[in-house]
């Protein structure tokens, strides 16, 4: 299953990954190899196979306070006392 460079760039954009041109070329080949390998799944006759149903048990919706919100903010790469600092949503690309 061959991928085009456009395919790779499209996937990278969807996944928010900025790739170098060398990476695009390398991954194009490597991803194509893997997709060719996994294509053998098509040989399986799954016409009578039901999709599995998840059976995760539910618990009661009980509120528990997380008592160290400061730790969560402190984990951010850039923050002030109470806020996580982020780049502007709208800003001119350099």
């Amino acid at each position: 299953m061959a991928l085009s460079q456009e395919d790779v760039l499209h996937l990278a954009a969807l996944a928010r990954l900025e790739l170098t041109p060398d990476e695009v070329e390398l991954y194009q080949k490597q991803l194509g190899d893997v997709l060719s390998y996994v294509a053998q799944l098509q040989e399986l006759d799954t016409r009578s196979t039901a999709m599995p149903q998840a059976a995760t048990p539910l618990r009661t919706d009980k509120v528990e306070l997380f008592f160290e919100p400061g730790r969560l903010v402190a984990a951010a790469p850039e923050h002030d006392d109470s806020f996580v600092v982020v780049p502007p949503v709208f800003g001119e690309s350099r």
Partner: protein, 480 residues
């Protein structure tokens, strides 16, 4: 190099204190050239050791892991201690909570000596995908220790800890255990809580023990197994007494040899070592039957659709905003995401994210993802059918012994094929243990025993019985 039993006996006889043992293991870690650890935790370790010594002095009952130096794969969170998942994107991350498995091990008295090196986000079969350098195999520094729990396996084999915690999604405990000549157990999915295990493939990830002996692995499993209401996928099955049942023997145990695990691609010398182990188990009273799992040939393909799909979702949270590291400033949010993720994720992480994005996208979902999930149903059905005829499946853990560092780095697919015997077990959600069954060219060979769901006790019994007939577990790497 001590086992848990030997260590506890020395402590009980007051031959040595927990602090002295801890200092010895910390020194071994510091002197090591293997790069098995990313972060050392000497303060935490010595404080815990002092606490064990004080407890003992007071005459308190000591926990089952009291004084045991334990290494923890860096995909498990420990509050306030840098946890990287082997990735630049989490460099500097200090989690606000500690993983359940670590909480339980420490409650049992374990001494956490450090966070071990691993492939980035537990994706890899060699340790070479770590952002913190490769880990070396203690038996031959030019060879890989296996992955993704590379440091956890190398550290146990080299005597830098007594036991360790790893995670197994496609073989990441069993394969490095095999390549490093130690015991590694993947529990049934849902047996051990994933809370605090940084998610990679949520439907397959399993925390588990690595140790020098089967008994040690059983003791560590006992301490961490059991339902955790804070992990929605953790199951409320009763936990057996794994250590009490070890000596049951294998009389009448029905072993199955699945032909698909003994075919092309298996090194004949590895096969011979495995068949030697089978002969020992037969001599001890087990029966052996050949069985077949025809859908197993699709297991690796199913895995490399399901795993990247969940990876693409689980790694979407790494945006450089809320935790870890951020790349050089982007002018706007979109650039920040692109640069952080592009620059701070390694190649394998990016490959799997893109693969997952592809197979889940409109137009490809049915052909790839839906098909893979259906393959998973078929593979599970095959195992269920076979387990109505036999109790334990015996296979090699890997097709070959530890390969040279760099030898598979150019071909992701070649690397994936290293997991051909371990992945089907994850796809079927089953428990399995790897333990040493010989050496080829000075490198360890691993024997894999696969059990029925929730039947860790039986595979541990069979492993223990075989181990008792050999001395592989007493061998120590040169210069370790």
């Amino acid at each position: 190099m001590l086992t848990i039993r030997e260590l506890k006996a020395k402590l009980a006889r007051r031959e040595v204190s927990a602090v002295e043992i801890t200092e010895q293991y910390l020194a071994a870690q510091a002197a090591s050239q293997l790069n098995a650890f990313i972060t050392s935790t000497p303060e935490r370790a010595l404080e815990a050791a002092r606490s064990v010594d004080a407890s003992f002095a007071r005459g308190d009952d000591l926990g089952p892991l009291a004084g045991v130096p334990l290494a923890v794969k860096d995909v498990f969170t420990i509050k306030g201690i840098e946890t990287t998942a082997g990735s630049k994107v989490l460099r500097g991350y200090q989690p606000p909570y500690t993983a359940t498995v670590v909480e339980r091990a420490e409650a049992a008295g374990a001494i956490v000596v450090g966070k071990t090196n691993c492939d980035e986000f537990a994706m890899g079969s060699s340790g070479e995908n770590s952002a913190f350098g490769v880990t070396h195999n203690p038996w031959d520094g030019a060879k890989v220790p296996g992955g993704s729990s590379s440091g956890s396996a190398a550290a146990v084999a080299a005597g830098e800890c007594v036991a360790s915690l790893g995670s197994d999604t496609g073989g990441s405990i069993r394969q490095p255990a095999a390549l490093c000549g130690i015991v590694g157990l993947k529990p049934t999915y849902g047996r051990v809580s994933r809370r605090g295990l940084i998610a990679m493939t949520s439907s397959l990830d399993c925390p588990g023990p690595l140790a020098r002996t089967v008994e040690d692995a059983a003791i560590l499993l006992q301490a961490i197994a059991g339902h955790d209401e804070r992990d929605a996928t953790s199951v409320s099955m009763p936990v057996s007494d794994y250590t009490a049942e070890l000596t049951n023997g294998v009389s009448g145990l029905r072993l199955g040899l699945p032909v698909e695990f003994f075919g092309e691609g298996l090194d004949p010398r590895v096969r011979d070592a495995v068949m030697g182990a089978v002969a020992e188990l037969e001599a001890a009273g087990a029966t052996v039957t050949e069985v077949s799992l025809p859908s197993m040939k699709y297991a690796l393909a199913a895995y490399y659709v399901i795993c990247p799909s969940e990876v693409s979702a689980n790694l979407a949270r790494y945006d450089g905003l809320r935790y870890g590291a951020r790349a050089s400033e982007g002018a706007n949010l979109s650039e920040a995401y692109l640069r952080t993720r592009g620059q701070l994720f390694g190649a394998e992480a990016k490959r799997r994210i893109m693969l997952g994005t592809y197979v889940l996208s409109a137009g490809y979902y049915d052909a790839y993802y839906r098909k893979a999930v259906q393959a998973r149903v078929a593979i599970r059905a095959d195992f269920t059918r076979v387990f109505s005829q036999v109790d334990v499946l015996v296979t090699p853990t890997t097709p070959e012994t530890a390969f040279p560092l760099g030898s598979k780095a150019q071909s992701p697919l070649a690397m994936y094929l290293a997991d051909v015997y371990t992945v089907p077990v994850n796809i079927a959600g089953l428990p399995a243990v790897s333990l040493p069954c010989g050496f080829v060219g000075g490198l360890p060979v691993g024997l894999q025993l696969i059990g029925k769901p929730w039947d860790e006790a039986t595979i541990l019994q069979a492993a223990y019985t075989y181990e008792a007939t050999t001395d592989w577990h007493t061998r120590v790497p040169q210069g370790a």
